[in-house]
């Protein structure tokens, strides 16, 4: 593969820059829904792409027929020429060479499909047996071993091998028209061992779903909300991380003003970091889809904006340094500026102390879904409790937190000491590319004055 990449990127003339990628992947999956094994098996994929820069404009081709790479490279060049010029240029980086591998402790490829199926079946049977209230369950397992081959006209020629694996557990409890969902998901680059021994999590998922049946719908209003580490991570990712992706702001003068480095966004103890170098986390990688090494980037430090995430192009255009955040989910797509492992740094407040200091509020745990348009966000917690006089009281349901990103960041007034990162089988979506493996996390955090949607009082 590296050979055809080298031949292509050295052969193509009349361009300012050319890069080629080939992705080869194979993986297995097991998918239980209810009592049925819906899907079990193994798939393979292979494809490539070429991206060409001519006079500041990009042409891009992706294809499955990798042997035809030179022909597609010429097509990409012709497409770039069609644009007739643009502003794109690339910040310099040393050409990446060599072979990187993030080895899993227990390699999923060494486990038989039958054993993977048996583990999923055991979890599924366990969840189904625990309560007659459980309407349906699902256990999804997947692993993927991928090799990325990369080369460009600056002399880069490199490859990296990454193995992802994970499982998600889901239980749906039902009482008449009242249907409640609870889930658990784990997925990262550590290896197959993370899939083993999840019986306790199965029990917890069932217990949570059943208990949610008797939860009260939340009353709409403005609340002090304590977010658990998972939801805090979602907030760091959705509500701030996306704003830090430089492709969103680099050609927009007004946004550049809003996102001026040094500007205060939060209190002194709020720091948000993106770090693709963390060992074996879901969003980790040796180098990105432009051959730039992964790194740790502070976005917020002590409440002030100190950095942002870059591709080589956005770094050049904003006069900043590349951060190794140009990622494509596969050979089909061009790289976009994306996050990796994004989290709020921990401080010294324990959860117990934070709770005790909260006279009246909501404790929101886990994440069902959410969206942001950069300014506004909206996400729902999987579980929630009412807090009164510093104690957890009745369970609540239908808790959806919404608001303005800038106001809400400033309203974070307590940051816990219990950082956790969450990967899982899902991922991040942007520009039609989803899911991208990422992790996010944080400690418990407390936010004042959050709009919670729900029934009117």
């Amino acid at each position: 593969m590296l050979d055809i990449i080298r031949r292509t990127v050295t052969w193509l003339a009349g361009v300012d820059y050319v890069e080629a990628r080939v992705h080869r992947a194979s993986g297995t999956h097991v998918n239980y829904v209810g009592k049925e094994l819906e899907d079990v098996g193994e798939t393979t994929s292979l494809g490539g792409c070429v991206r060409v820069l001519v006079n500041g404009a990009w042409g891009f081709c992706s294809f499955n027929d990798v042997e035809e790479m030179p022909r597609y490279a010429a097509m990409a060049r012709d497409q770039a020429r069609l644009i007739g010029g643009g502003t794109a240029r690339l910040a310099p980086v040393p050409p990446r060479t060599g072979c990187d591998r993030i080895p899993p402790a227990e390699d999923p490829a060494a486990i038989t499909l039958a054993e993977k199926e048996a583990i999923c079946r055991r979890y599924n049977d366990l969840m189904r047996s625990l309560s007659h209230r459980i309407q349906t369950t699902s256990v999804r397992y997947s692993d993927a071993a991928g090799t990325l081959y990369f080369g460009n006209s600056e002399g880069a020629l490199a490859q990296q091998e990454i193995t992802f694996c994970g499982v998600s557990l889901l239980a749906i409890a039902r009482d008449g028209a009242n249907v409640q969902t609870a889930r658990y998901s784990v997925g990262d680059l550590r290896g197959f061992q993370i899939v083993r021994g999840l019986e306790e999590q199965c029990e917890k998922v069932v217990r949570d779903a059943v208990e949610m049946l008797s939860a009260q719908p939340v009353t709409a209003g403005r609340y002090t909300v304590i977010c658990d580490p998972l939801l805090a991570g979602v907030f760091a990712h959705e509500a701030f991380g996306h704003l830090s992706e430089a492709d969103f702001i680099y050609e927009h003068e007004r946004l550049k003003e809003i996102m001026t480095l040094g500007r205060r966004f939060g209190n002194d103890d709020l720091s948000i970091v993106d770090d693709a170098t963390l060992p074996n986390e879901a969003g980790s990688y040796p180098f990105d889809s432009e051959g730039v090494p992964a790194q740790r980037t502070y976005l917020l430090r002590e409440g002030r904006l100190v950095g942002r995430l870059h591709s080589r192009e956005t770094a050049a255009l904003m006069g900043e340094s590349p951060t190794g955040n140009a990622r494509a989910i596969s050979y089909v797509h061009e790289p976009l500026v994306r996050m990796s492992n994004t989290f709020i740094e921990p401080r010294d407040v324990s959860f117990e102390q934070m709770l005790a200091e909260t006279e009246d509020g909501i404790y929101a745990v886990g994440f069902l879904g959410g969206q942001t348009d950069m300014e506004m966000f909206s996400f729902s917690s999987e579980q929630a409790w009412r807090i009164r006089k510093g104690k957890l009281c009745e369970r609540l349901r239908d808790v959806i937190l919404t608001g303005n990103v800038f106001h809400t960041l400033k309203n974070i007034d307590r940051i816990g000491n219990d950082l956790r990162l969450y990967g899982g089988l899902g991922g991040c979506g942007k520009g039609g590319q989803s899911p991208l493996r990422v992790s996010d996390g944080g400690p418990h955090i407390r936010i004042r004055d959050v709009v919670v949607g729900g029934q009117q009082p």
């Binding site: 899907d39 294809f63 069609l82 996400f379």
Partner: protein, 441 residues
């Protein structure tokens, strides 16, 4: 390319059928070309030439599946499918034979004839149209056009080859006012060429004008008009509950209610895969059954669930030709085009009859509530406050919450006009009273 895809499919089927009791091959091949603008400038021109193969087998009564797009892996593909069948689900169906397919037009030669130079000119015209009204707007969007070939064949003798085009054109504007963001995006998508970007530009400008003043509702209940594109959020609940898969798993809240009136009697919703050039149309479904149009809800009465072969077999009912799939996955039930039939009242008249209410057009955070149960709670990304029959401004920091079933049983009016958005044709629907929560006082 078509010839080789056909050869590939039949050769793989022959080989696989010798090893399994029954086999089915799907080959999907497409060439997509697109131009993409970002921040008012042409950013990239792209080609995607992709092909993939899925193989489903039945051996000893069990289903196996595998897929690849690596030509070197075709032999392994058969081994992987058979291995999958050794663990797989019991098959509750047989692969269908050839049958007469209904006529539906999915191919427009003008789409593949569109030169990229022309696509660039169309987009420039649209962006210029927005910039003429709002010079500080940042417009993005693009045009993509593709030609796809799907070949489906099985060991019962079915062979179906379908060539279809698809065309998507999108134009969005992003405006910043103080620290207030305004996103407006408009798009069209179908199998047919549509060069009328001026219409999209006019809609963007019109919505930007209506957004110039910001207003803040308090926490109150009011009538809310969903535009055709916003209505998707509520229809998601109905679609999920009529999906045979949801029914088979016992998760549908409508499971026991076939033949009962569950929605307002003005609501008739069709699953219609036979609309010429609509993006959800098909002549035969992804398992080879001839498509047909059917009411899901007729005058509020639940009429049918939708099934693929396996799900229908498990439920002991007839399949409804609703199998959908990409080459890399097994089929699952899904609708073709969803059409909510129009009502009697002109849209203008609905608005002029509202003393205080909302119009919602773009909603943020859909699908995160309990969709099956009908709960929704969304942030209004783009919506307008109506007072005394007139739009008075854009609402900000506003949540909208309720239950889709309650809403569809509490309808004030359904508009006489409908709009196509991708695979839906929907009217404007005014719901009587929904919870709105804003920061206003």
């Amino acid at each position: 390319m078509t010839v080789s895809a056909r050869d590939l499919a039949t050769r793989l089927l022959d080989k696989a059928a010798r090893r399994a009791d029954a086999a089915e091959v799907i080959v999907q091949q497409s060439e997509q070309r697109s131009v993409r603008f970002q921040d008012n400038a042409l950013k990239s021109v792209t080609t995607r030439a992709l092909r993939g193969v899925g193989l489903r087998v039945i051996r000893q009564g069990r289903i196996g599946f595998s897929s690849t797009n690596d030509p070197a892996a075709f032999d392994t593909l058969i081994e992987q499918a058979l291995h999958s069948a050794s663990l797989g689900q019991e098959a509750k169906f047989e692969f269908p034979r050839n049958s007469d397919a209904p006529e539906v037009r999915l191919h427009d030669p003008a789409v593949t004839g569109l030169a990229m130079e022309r696509a660039i000119a169309i987009m420039r015209q649209g962006i210029d149209g927005v910039l003429a009204a709002y010079p500080d707007a940042h417009c993005s969007g693009g045009i993509s056009r593709s030609l796809g070939v799907t070949i489906l064949c099985n060991s019962s003798g079915l062979f179906h080859e379908e060539e279809s085009t698809s065309y998507d054109m999108g134009l969005s504007a992003f405006l910043v006012r103080g620290e207030s963001f305004l996103w407006i995006d408009e798009e069209v998508g179908s199998c047919r060429l549509d060069e009328d970007i001026a219409r999209l530009a006019r809609m963007v400008v019109q919505k930007a004008r209506l957004s110039e003043r910001e207003v803040h509702p308090t926490a109150e209940k009011m009538p809310v008009v969903f535009t055709p594109r916003a209505l998707d959020v509520l229809l998601a609940t109905l679609e999920a509950n009529v999906n045979g898969k949801t029914v088979q798993k016992g998760a549908s809240v409508l499971a026991e209610r076939l033949g009962e009136r569950v929605l307002d009697e003005r609501v008739t919703i069709l699953d219609d895969p036979l609309v010429d050039f609509a993006s959800g149309s098909y002549a035969v479904d992804a398992e080879g059954l001839p498509a047909r149009t059917k009411p899901l809800f007729e005058k509020g009465v639940l009429r049918t669930f939708i099934y693929d072969l396996q799900t229908a077999g498990m439920c002991g009912v007839q399949p409804t030709a609703n199998a959908q799939r990409g080459y890399s996955s097994q089929p699952h039930p899904g609708p073709g085009n969803i059409r909510l039939l129009p009502g009697q009242v002109p849209y203008r008249e609905i608005i002029s009859g509202i003393s205080r209410g909302l119009i919602v057009d773009q909603l943020l955070g859909a699908g995160q509530s309990n969709v099956l149960q009908g709960a929704f709670a969304v942030n209004v990304e783009l919506g307008f406050l109506v007072e005394k029959g007139e739009i008075v401004g854009r609402v900000k920091d506003t949540m909208l919450a309720g239950n889709a079933f309650d809403a569809f049983n509490n309808i004030r009016a359904i508009s006489a006009e409908t709009e196509w958005h991708g695979d839906t044709e929907l009217p404007y629907v005014c719901f009587e009273s929904l919870s709105v929560a804003g920061r206003g006082t």
